[in-house]
Symmetry: C2
Subunit: 209 residues, 2 copies
């Protein structure tokens, strides 16, 4: 079954030429779009870093699909406060079915990046300049996908150091927006993370539905 895209991207290879995420110029509709977000998740995620942005994005009218390592797997947070389920498995999805990627923190990202299909899925969002929203340990998945070199971002303190060592431009602040990429460090950054993520999602290009 073919799933229709919520928004089709206008890929014109214009990175750095004045039209794109960096500038927000004119090719993007402002607000009112339902964005289809893939939330990649495994057990022992940081409860609040999954649940609060998840609720925040849904409250904006966006669709969030929990993509796990196997469909139907029960996913409990490391604090034991939140339990959810993988709505679909990584073997059942293609990046073309989504407009944005959300990577909650905790121990989940290190589990996800052990699966090459999850790494390939992640990389595809960078290849097509779609929004990627990663908090805390989320950027571990980006390290394995080899998409952080030269990118400006933040992460959990220990991952900041890993990122520096592999050539990222690391900034220690509550939220960093670099073109298609929104990153934050920890649970106390969640409000800023949601705010900037929602702003970025409003810039998702309009396409056919």
């Amino acid at each position: 079954m073919e799933i229709k895209l919520a928004a089709q991207y206008q890929l014109d290879g214009s990175a750095g030429t004045g039209v794109g995420w960096a500038t927000g110029i004119s090719k993007y509709a402002q607000g009112g779009i339902t964005v289809r977000i893939a939330c990649v998740l495994d057990v022992d995620y940081e409860d609040s870093e999954f649940k609060q942005p998840y609720d925040g994005f849904k409250n904006q009218g966006h669709q969030v699909t929990i993509v796990g390592l196997q469909a139907g797997k029960e996913l409990k947070g490391k604090q034991g406060k939140v339990t959810t389920k993988a709505e679909t498995g990584i073997d059942q999805v293609r990046p073309e079915q989504f407009d944005a990627l959300f990577i909650p923190g905790g121990y989940s990202p290190d589990h996800l990046r052990a699966d090459p299909r999850m790494v390939k899925f992640t990389k595809a969002f960078f290849d097509t300049d779609k929004p990627v929203l990663a908090i805390c340990h989320g950027p571990q998945l980006l390290i394995t996908a080899r998409v952080v070199k030269g990118r400006k971002l933040t992460a959990w303190i220990t991952i900041q150091d890993d990122l520096s060592q592999v050539g990222a431009n690391v900034v220690d602040q509550e939220v960093v927006v670099d073109k298609n990429l929104v990153t934050s460090r920890q649970p106390s950054d969640i409000p800023a993370f949601i705010r900037e993520s929602i702003k970025l999602l409003e810039k998702v290009p309009v396409g056919t539905r």
Copy 2:
């Protein structure tokens, strides 16, 4: 209170000159030494990767001291099968008080490397060529301590990739011995990890007691 060393090291700056861990030549007594091992540990360690080597080293007559982020902190494994306690805190110890370092896996190493004192403590064992025994996620602490460049080692699959990206020579096998460094990947490697660690500990140089 000054703690006496179990073995005093003969540091002669001879790395690579034919006497040392690489060759095992003559400066080391074979067996019978009680080695003082610092086991650095925080919550959510991989239960078996702490307990089995810990017991194995003690059964050989070695002394193992659990060094935590705070003395007295209760330390429960991620499987919930093992609970122990930090016998001392990182603020109370100096690397000179120990002959070897043991870093169990699980989520513990990422907690430990968030504390600069733990990173400095770890680096000191490399600076003095003392045995370092690290399994699974243990080498995360070595990445932050910046001691892996050019070293031959292994680790948990996701950490293998991090290690490659920061210039380590990564090998995917059950145990890797490179001079003072013994590393393994996962719980199924524990017997090989204990075996090679014990062999290395037998080579700890004889000194005053």
